[in-house]
C-alpha cells in the first residue's frame, strides 16, 4: 500500500500513440495508457517485444510526443513544452539506454562524456571537470582514473555505470532505465541493480524501469505495469506480483519463466500461439485469441482498467464485477 504515503511525482493520462504504417494502416503503439510515478519509487514496465513499453517511456524523456493524452510533471504538461522551457525540463528526467557502447560518442573520453550534461547547462567550468568527473565515477563505484579512458576500453558493466553517472550528473528527479541491464551477464546485472537501488535510497530518485525479464522487475520495482500489444493489462505492487497477479497474460508471462528453483519434473507452461501483429490488433481484448478463459464479450468489447484490489488494477472482463 505504498501510494498512501507516497506522493505522485508524474502522472500520464490517457496516452495514445499512433504511427502511420504502409498501406494506409495505423500502428497503435500505445492505447490509452494511464500511469503514475511515485516519488522515490520504481515503476517497472514489462511486456514482450513490440508491446509499446519503450514508446511510452520515450514520452517521459520528451524524445517523442503522444498523439493524444497528457503527462503532468511539476504542474506542467510535458507534451506541450517547447524551446528553452523544454530544454530546462530535460534536467529533471534523464535516461540510461540498453547499450551504452552505442549511446556514447566513441571519440570522447569518459571525462567529457560524464560532464557533457553539466557543461551544456553551464553548471561547471572546464577546470572543475576533472574533480566533478572523479566524484561522479566514485558515486557509481568506479575508480576516478577511468576519466581518461575511452568507452571501448571498458567492459559492458563499467560502461553502464558510466551511463548512470552521466544520467545522474544533473540530479534528476526521475531516471528512466530502458533495458539497462539486458545486455549484461547475470552477475554484472546484479551489481548494477544493487548500485541503482542503493542510489535510489540515498537520493530518493524515482525510477522508470523498462525490462522484459518479469522476475527481475518483480525483485526491484515497487509498482509493476504489464503491457501487451500497446495496452496496459495489469498494474500491481511488485512484491505481490508472484502471488496476486490475476490477468491471464501476466500469468502466462510468469508461467514461461525458467527458474533455477522450479520443479523440473513439470513441463513448462506457455501459450502456444504467436502474438498478433500490432497492425492488426483484434477488435475486443487484445489478448483474446491466445487466452484460455476467452468469453464471447472478449471478442467484441475491449476491457478497461478497473480497480481489483488496493493498488491493483486489471483490464480483463473476468474481473469486472469483483468487489474490493
Amino acid at each position: 500500500m505504498f501510494n498512501e504515503n507516497a506522493e505522485v511525482i508524474l502522472e500520464a493520462n490517457h496516452i495514445t500513440r499512433k504511427f502511420p504504417a504502409a498501406g494506409g494502416k495505423t500502428l497503435l503503439a500505445n492505447n490509452d495508457i494511464s500511469l503514475k510515478l511515485y516519488k522515490g519509487k520504481t515503476l517497472g514496465l514489462v511486456g514482450e517485444s513490440g508491446c509499446g513499453k519503450s514508446t511510452f517511456m520515450r514520452f517521459l524523456v520528451m524524445l517523442d510526443k503522444p498523439t493524444e493524452g497528457e503527462i503532468l510533471f511539476q504542474g506542467k504538461d510535458l507534451t506541450k513544452l517547447k524551446g528553452e522551457e523544454l530544454r530546462q525540463f530535460r534536467r529533471h528526467i534523464q535516461m540510461v539506454f540498453q547499450d551504452p557502447a552505442n549511446s556514447f560518442n566513441p571519440k570522447l573520453r569518459i571525462r567529457d562524456i560524464v560532464c557533457e550534461p553539466l557543461m551544456n547547462f553551464g553548471l561547471i567550468t572546464k577546470e572543475e571537470k576533472d574533480a566533478k568527473c572523479r566524484e561522479l565515477l566514485e558515486m557509481v563505484e568506479l575508480p576516478g582514473d577511468f576519466a581518461d579512458r575511452y568507452p571501448h576500453n571498458m567492459s559492458g558493466g563499467q560502461r553502464q555505470r558510466v551511463a548512470i553517472a552521466r544520467a545522474l550528473a544533473l540530479h534528476p528527479e526521475i531516471l528512466i532505465l530502458d533495458e539497462a541491464t539486458s545486455a549484461l551477464d547475470v552477475s554484472v546485472q546484479k551489481t548494477v541493480i544493487d548500485l541503482v537501488t542503493k542510489l535510489q535510497r540515498e537520493k530518493g530518485i524515482t525510477i522508470g524501469f523498462i525490462c522484459h525479464d518479469i522476475a527481475l522487475v518483480a525483485s526491484c520495482a515497487h509498482q509493476v505495469a504489464v503491457m501487451y500489444l500497446g495496452n496496459l493489462v495489469e498494474v500491481l505492487p511488485g512484491d505481490e506480483l508472484h502471488t496476486r497477479a490475476v490477468h491471464p497474460y501476466t500469468k502466462a508471462l510468469m508461467g514461461s519463466i525458467f527458474d533455477i528453483n522450479m520443479d523440473f519434473s513439470k513441463p513448462i507452461e506457455s501459450i502456444d500461439s504467436e502474438a498478433p501483429s500490432p497492425l492488426d490488433v483484434p477488435a475486443g481484448c487484445p489478448f483474446a485469441n491466445r487466452c484460455d478463459s476467452c468469453m464471447e464479450i472478449c471478442k467484441t468489447e475491449r476491457p478497461v482498467m478497473t480497480d481489483y484490489a488496493p493498488d491493483h488494477q486489471v483490464a480483463c472482463h473476468l474481473f469486472k464485477n469483483s468487489s474490493l
Partner: protein
C-alpha cells in the same frame, strides 16, 4: 558418442579454451553455461569444424563415435553436418539468405544432402515445418526470412536442422533473442526431439534457468576453462564452487530476494 579429450583451442597464439574435456552420451542433454567470453561457443563450434578464421584445435582430440573429427576432409564434413550433427544458431534468420525465400533455402539445403526433385523437396520442407508446429507451412515456404517473427525463424532453423534426424544437436544460444513465451515454446520443442528421437543435445546458454530446465549435465565455464561441472542437482544445490554459487545467486527469481 561425442568426446572432448583435453582440448585446447587457440586463435593465433592465444589459447581461448584450455584443457576442455567432456563426454556426451546418446540421448543426453548437456549445457555449457558461463558469461560472455568464457569460450562456450568456441567449444561447440570446434565440434562441428566451424571455428571462425584462425581458430584451431591445438591440443587434444574431439572424437565422434570413436573417430577423430579433426582430420576430416571437407567432403567428409559435408556428409556429416546436417545428417549426423546439426546446429541451431542464435538467430536462424541470419543464416538464411535474405534475398531468397525460406522455401528456396530449404530446398537448396535438402538437395545438397540427397538426390531429390525440387517438388519433393518442397513438400518435405512443408512436412518438417508442420512437425515443428508451424501452421500453414506452404505460406512460410513462400515468405522471406524478414517476414517471419523471431520465434518462427527459430523454428524454421530447427526444422532444417532436424530433417535428417541427426544424432547430435548443437544449439548456440537458441532462445536468447526470443521473448519469454516464445522461449518456452522453443525449449519445449527441443526437449520433444530428445524424447522422441533420442537426440543428444549440447546447448550453449547464459540463461541458467533454461540450462537447469533442459539439461542432465551442466558445465560451468569461465575464461576458457571448466570451472565446475556435474549433474543438474549437484550444480544447483550441492556445488561448493564459489563462481557457480555466485552465478546462481545473481539469477533473479520470482518471489525471491527483493532489492527494494
Amino acid at each position: 558418442m561425442l568426446k572432448f579429450n583435453n582440448v585446447t583451442i587457440s586463435y593465433g597464439n592465444n589459447p581461448t579454451v584450455k584443457d576442455f574435456s567432456l563426454h556426451v552420451e546418446q540421448g543426453q542433454v548437456v549445457s555449457l553455461v558461463g558469461e560472455s567470453g568464457s569460450g562456450k561457443t568456441t567449444v561447440i563450434r570446434a565440434a562441428l569444424g566451424l571455428l571462425p578464421g584462425g581458430g584451431k584445435v591445438t591440443d587434444g582430440d574431439i572424437l565422434y563415435n570413436g573417430k577423430s573429427v579433426l582430420t576430416l576432409s571437407d567432403a567428409q564434413w559435408r556428409k556429416m553436418r546436417g545428417t549426423e550433427i546439426s546446429m541451431i544458431f542464435q538467430d536462424s534468420g541470419a543464416m538464411m539468405n535474405p534475398t531468397k525465400k525460406v522455401g528456396d533455402v530449404f530446398v537448396e539445403y535438402l538437395q545438397t544432402h540427397e538426390k531429390i526433385s525440387k517438388k519433393d523437396a518442397w513438400n518435405k520442407g512443408i512436412m518438417m515445418l508442420e512437425k515443428m508446429r508451424l501452421p500453414s507451412g506452404d505460406n512460410i515456404m513462400r515468405s522471406y526470412p524478414f517476414q517471419l517473427s523471431g520465434g518462427m525463424r527459430q523454428r524454421v532453423g530447427i526444422a532444417m536442422g532436424m530433417t535428417y534426424s541427426p544424432k547430435l544437436l548443437l544449439a548456440d544460444e537458441p532462445t536468447s533473442a526470443l521473448d519469454v513465451t516464445t522461449q518456452a515454446q522453443i525449449v519445449r520443442q527441443m526437449m520433444a526431439l530428445r524424447d522422441v528421437y533420442g537426440t543428444s543435445i549440447i546447448v550453449v546458454t547464459h540463461n541458467l534457468g533454461v540450462a537447469a530446465y533442459m539439461s542432465d549435465y551442466i558445465v560451468v565455464m569461465k575464461h576458457g576453462v571448466i570451472e565446475d561441472q556435474g549433474d543438474r542437482d549437484h550444480i544447483l544445490h550441492h556445488s561448493e564452487n564459489e563462481y557457480t554459487r555466485k552465478l546462481l545467486e545473481a539469477v533473479p527469481s520470482l518471489g525471491g530476494e527483493r532489492y527494494v
